[in-house]
């Protein structure tokens, strides 16, 4: 049996719906249609009344999820694309993220964001917004890179008492496969060493983990052993695991698909520099998308985002080659 990243997301939701009567799914086209990417296919039939189509009202969708959470429900919100969460930005960062701190009443909502670029998707169906939400206190931001994490972390996201921004990468939906659903996964907040190495550390999240792994394989042929750290959660960042990796390798490259100004790569570099400056043998490097909107045409898009080629080039630079 082969399970895709997308299957894992659907199965995690099915299990959550089965285990907890307070779980429901709310979003555009999620009910009988099964969602724009089929992440909720069949769930409306299996769980009548608990998978609900919403009007095209991202603000109201998240606002009502907050209200439902106050009353003891555990809503899963599906944004059709991560980009559209901009319309719900206010309810996410000002309503849901402040709620527990202001009132003492937890706000356990999960907001699924189909994230990241794919060929031909253009500026408004391609964004990676994890840095944006990680900026705000009161939110947890997950960026699963594997089928196992897509399943295990989504289940955790639904159980967690806080609002969780769940960034699932569209490029991984159909191509990433596993043999079975995991029995257990690492705890939330722990990074994973995706590949062991000793010459440089590449810290990445989501689809960039796979680009980094491919770059590491290429560099291995040249005799370089590159360690790849999969962040798993963008917030909280597992600084300890990153520092331990840098302690082994002395060199750091942080990679993310989001825009270059600030964000996760800047945060990773800043933490390593402030807490582990003495571990570094070379200036740490960052690699993000280019500082333009995400382009439509595949020729432009491939050059806009970090790839295994640009990661390999950055690592060579980091190694002084």
């Amino acid at each position: 049996m082969s399970i895709t990243y997308l299957d894992a997301i659907r199965e995690a939701q099915a299990r959550a719906l089965e285990e907890d009567p307070n779980v429901f799914i709310y979003g555009q086209d999620v009910a009988d249609f099964g969602g724009a990417f089929k992440a909720t296919k069949g769930l409306a039939e299996r769980f009548p009344g608990r998978v609900i189509d919403a009007p095209i009202s991202e603000d109201a969708i998240v606002g009502s999820a907050v209200g439902a959470a106050i009353e003891g429900m555990r809503p899963i919100v599906e944004m059709q694309f991560a980009d559209f969460s901009a319309v719900a930005f206010n309810q996410i960062v000002n309503q849901s993220a402040t709620h527990y701190w202001r009132t003492g009443v937890p706000c356990p909502i999960t907001i699924r964001l189909p994230s990241g670029g794919t060929e031909g998707s253009g500026p408004f169906h391609s964004q990676s917004v994890e840095s944006l939400y990680a900026h705000y206190p009161g939110l947890i931001v997950m960026t699963p890179a594997t089928v196992e994490d897509a399943y295990g972390m989504l289940l955790e996201a639904i159980r967690i008492e806080d609002p969780v921004i769940f960034c699932e990468h569209k490029l991984l939906y159909y191509h990433l496969k596993a043999d079975a659903l995991p029995r257990s996964v690492l705890p939330v907040g722990k990074a994973r060493i995706a590949r062991v190495g000793r010459h440089a550390s590449v810290v990445a999240c989501s689809a960039m983990v796979h680009e980094a792994l491919r770059a590491a394989r290429v560099l291995a042929d040249e005799g370089w052993e590159i360690e790849v750290v999969d962040l798993r959660t963008a917030k909280p960042i597992d600084t300890d695991t990153i520092l331990a990796s840098v302690a082994r390798t002395g060199r750091l490259l942080a990679v993310a698909e989001s825009f270059p100004w600030g964000g996760i790569t800047a945060e990773v570099v800043s933490r390593v520099v402030t807490e582990g400056f003495h571990l570094l043998d070379a200036p740490p490097q960052r690699l993000n998308s280019k500082d333009t909107p995400v382009p439509y045409h595949p020729n432009l898009w491939r050059a806009h985002r970090p790839t295994w080629q640009s990661i390999a080039a950055s690592v060579r630079h980091l190694l002084g080659l």
């Binding site: 606002g63 439902a68 202001r102 008492e161």
Partner: protein
């Protein structure tokens, strides 16, 4: 004022024996709101309040008529906004919660983390507003959807807004969502003629905000928001219709904000003649007139209520003032309920 709380039994007067009792109960909530807010405004002028003070002067009848006729014990909801001191207390917010939040007492529901009108007890049907207008409609929708999930379809959610707030996208999304989901929601729009300094001619172009109701597929009402009897009658009907499953109700009350946007604002942009125009009156004074004219209360009784209320307010404020303020060294500085996942700043050194 627990003695004024109606019993949950449904009746023509929503638990009150007759029109007189209901009217006087509402009037007394209005007096409490007015006196409390005057006290808070005086403290503000004396520099005793941290942050802003935003008054509901002129809107007490409209606010109380909704808050008082909802039933907190039954599971109803009331999401008050900045001019709902009256409605909040009539629904179930205690005077101490109000006083403590304004005065920054650590004993209050917001514990100094938020202040003034940004307060609530969400698990007791009183969500705490954020400043971004229109957003609370969807929050109340979600609370009602949760109640429905839990088998409660006989509860009603009240949410308030002003004419300015109706211009937001959030308000549109929320009201449309409530209509689509046929939720038992009562939206009270206090059309108080000014959004901060902006007159309604720059806010909306329809003849009456209630005209929008038909466009959403909800029932609309347009009333004189300074007339307590009209407010009580209309909200009674709207609440009962919502409770019967007839979907959202939109009640627009025409009135005039008898204060600045906040106490920092002298509102010189509001011409004095506005007070002589229709809906420009003071609902508390009008309610007093009606009570006297109908021989429902004597001037002496009303004076006594004022004196008793003043005493209660002074006591509550004095108590809140004597309570500790929040201590930054005892603050957790963590915004997550899931403590072990919080990336908090360590306690201040």
């Amino acid at each position: 004022m627990p003695s004024l709380s109606p019993s949950p039994t449904a009746s023509r007067w929503k638990g009150f024996a007759n029109e007189r009792e209901r009217f006087l109960a509402a009037y007394r909530w209005m007096i409490l709101a007015r006196i409390f807010e005057e006290k808070i405004a005086a403290l503000y002028r004396a520099g005793k309040i941290v942050g802003g003070v935003y008054l509901g002067r002129g809107q007490e009848a409209f606010s109380v008529a909704l808050g008082m006729q909802l039933d907190q014990a039954h599971g109803d909801l009331f999401a008050g906004l900045i001019r709902d001191q009256g409605g909040r207390m009539a629904f179930g917010e205690t005077l101490m919660d109000s006083a403590r939040t304004y005065l920054g007492s650590v004993e209050g529901p917001m514990r100094g983390r938020d202040g003034n009108i940004h307060r609530g007890r969400p698990t007791r049907g009183m969500p705490a507003m954020i400043s971004h207008l229109g957003t609370m409609v969807a929050v109340v929708n979600g609370m009602l959807m949760a109640k429905r999930f839990h088998g409660r379809v006989d509860v009603v959610g009240g949410v308030t807004i002003g004419d300015g707030g109706t211009s937001t996208g959030a308000f549109h999304e929320g009201l449309n969502q409530a209509a689509v989901e046929k939720l038992p929601l009562v939206v009270a729009v206090a059309d108080n003629q000014y959004a901060y300094s902006t007159p309604t001619c720059h806010q909306y172009a329809c003849a009456d905000l209630a005209d929008r109701a038909a466009g959403y597929g909800v029932r609309g009402y347009s009333i004189d928001g300074t007339d307590l009897t009209a407010c009580l009658e209309t909200f009674h009907e709207a609440i009962e219709r919502a409770r019967r499953g007839e979907g959202p109700q939109l009640v627009v009350g025409k009135l005039l904000r008898l204060a600045g946007h906040g106490e920092h604002d002298d509102a010189r942009y509001i011409p004095a003649r506005k007070r002589q125009e229709p809906h420009g009156g003071d609902c508390v004074a009008l309610a007093r007139e009606k009570a006297l004219k109908s021989a429902w209360a004597s001037a002496k009784e009303i004076d006594e209520w004022h004196a008793q209320t003043q005493e209660r307010v002074e006591e509550a404020v004095a108590r809140a003032q004597s309570e500790p303020e929040p201590n930054p060294f005892r603050e957790s500085w963590h915004a997550l309920a899931t403590k072990h996942l919080a990336e908090g700043t360590p306690p201040a050194q």
